[in-house]
């Protein structure tokens, strides 16, 4: 029984894809490490600046373990990271994993609030613009999304802040959150960053959904359904959508991955205590251990979401589920 299950092509494909994801994550950790260690300009020098004395440089190098060979440092860093020990920050000596824990929670809370709103909206708008393909609803939706894609996240952030917080006084302009807040207060605080993130991903997601469904709409069985005289929404809902699930799920996952990056900038705009602000602050301070840890976490989330997208599209393909 188990051998037949393991022999099933879907299981093999999924296992293969997950293994690929893990290999990629491992390689990404290597890339992040190499990128921050072997580039010209050593970390001690960049922390202390050009005017540092040789003695203080040597002390700092010893303190950071820079005298060890790079391979040893990489292995101890990776093993530590796998055990949840991300090292300590250079600037304040704090434990990185501890400082990151709450911020990661905040970021995921913000990103999932945005996703809960953006995903259904993008799917509905995508369906509407396919239904009215090349008529005015399609053109209006396409125009608005083109505009929102053309504006960088941080500017969208300030435009929303200017209109909603300064002119209309609807929501606070700065998203301060603390532990004793109730869920409702918390949602009120993050309303503006959520609106911005929704606008950022909605355009991409809607365009890609529209393209995926339009692609399916050109197949022969859709023409048959049309010739049978079915109503347009029924054709889209019963005939096009099931076949578009794999590409659409792919679109959603890619955009959630995109959301993770958009969060970095939006958090800085709204001074929200999340991972993005943590990363940007410490890049400016050249606090390499924190940057490495943040980079690793962001890469893991990004690779993970892409992996889920691939696995879902394997599972959604009936040809792979029921092999001949």
């Amino acid at each position: 029984m188990i051998t037949t299950l393991l022999g099933h092509p879907v299981v093999r494909l999924v296992a293969h894809r997950i293994a690929m994801g893990l290999v990629l994550l491992f390689a990404a950790s290597l890339l992040i490490f190499v990128g921050t260690q072997i580039l010209p300009g050593d970390v001690a020098q960049s922390i202390l600046g050009q005017s540092a004395t040789p003695q203080s440089l040597a002390n700092l190098r010893a303190e950071l373990g820079l005298n060890e060979p790079a391979v040893t440092r990489y292995i101890s860093w990776l093993v530590g990271a796998m055990h949840g020990d991300l090292g300590t920050a250079l600037t304040n000596g704090q434990d990185i994993a501890e400082a990151m824990g709450r911020r990661l929670g905040n970021t995921l809370f913000l990103a999932s609030c945005a996703a809960i709103i953006a995903v259904p909206m993008a799917l509905i708008l995508g369906l509407v613009s396919v239904r009215y393909h090349r008529r005015w609803p399609d053109k209006v939706i396409s125009g608005v999304t083109l505009a929102s894609v053309s504006v960088p996240e941080f500017l969208l952030g300030y435009i929303v802040m200017f209109i909603m917080a300064v002119r209309l006084h609807a929501f606070p302009s700065v998203s301060t959150v603390y532990d004793s807040m109730s869920l409702l207060e918390r949602l009120n605080a993050i309303a503006l960053p959520v609106i911005v993130l929704v606008m950022v991903v909605l355009g991409h997601m809607m365009r890609m959904t529209r393209a995926a469904i339009l692609n399916v709409m050109q197949s022969a069985y859709i023409e048959t359904a049309e010739l049978k005289g079915l109503r347009p929404f029924r054709i889209i809902w019963r005939h096009a959508l099931p076949n578009a699930i794999a590409p659409v799920v792919n679109v959603v996952m890619l955009n959630l991955a995109y959301l993770v990056v958009g969060v970095v900038v939006v958090e800085v705009v709204f001074v929200y205590p999340g991972m993005g602000q943590y990363l940007v602050d410490h890049v400016a301070k050249r606090d390499v251990p924190v940057v490495q840890a943040c980079g690793l976490v962001f890469a893991a989330v990004y690779i993970g979401l892409n992996m889920i997208a691939d696995v879902v599209s394997i599972l959604a393909n009936p040809r792979l589920r029921h092999p001949k």
Binding site: A28, L31, L39, V265, R286, A299
Partner: protein, 271 residues
Amino acid sequence: MSRIPLSALIGMVVTAAYFLAAIFADVISPYGYADVVGNVWDPVSAEHWLGTDSIGRDLLSRMIYGGQITIFVAAAATVLAFATGAFFGFLAAVSGGWVDQVLSRLVDLLMSIPALILALVILSVLPVSVPVLIGVMGLIESTRVFRLSRAVAVDVAVMDYVEAARLRGEGTIWVIFREILPNALSPLVAEAGLRFIFMVLFISTLSFLGLGVQPPLADWGGIVKENKEGIVYGIPAALIPAVAIATLAISVNLVADWVLTRTSSLKGGRG
């Protein structure tokens, strides 16, 4: 040659206006970019068409010089991305075998980390200067160009005339530049527009985060950063670069769209 559609025409005019303003910044800007000529955040007036910024510099002049930096950095990074990305993409497609495998897997790896995160990680250890920014942005972006040019070149590389060139005994470099490049040019030109816009957004974002162009110089992203405190008091100075970036992005998009449909209809209109 068909008529140019109105949307593409508008796109071209606006794009050309921004580029001309960038090139002739010294001639057209009313004040120097670092001269303090008024009070903090003066409103729009006859002397200062866009008002003044957070320390009383003329905002229109800042915007013109900022546009010069933004467009220069973005254009240089785009050129670098295409020079490296397209060369290695063609090389991978022409060579095949292990060269293709190594290059493609390396690009997969670089693309597995989001571009902004990778840029931040690298910039945390490098001195932040304009050449470094162009290099980091261009090389990260070249992975996207690599994907496209490899895909295009794989189709071209199986053509009979490439086979003929190989049988004549031409080398890889000759095949890349004389056979593949001319036949892969049109999709790459359309892509260049989109990549350029992506670079404009990228440098603006980095500067806004304080990790791009450093003061006293400022690109459009930097101008947002300088004036962002004004937003809370209802001063819209920080929103002016938004208009500039968005209109530039949309107009380049319109031109690129037109180039893309025109070249695909030349190929028999299958697109």
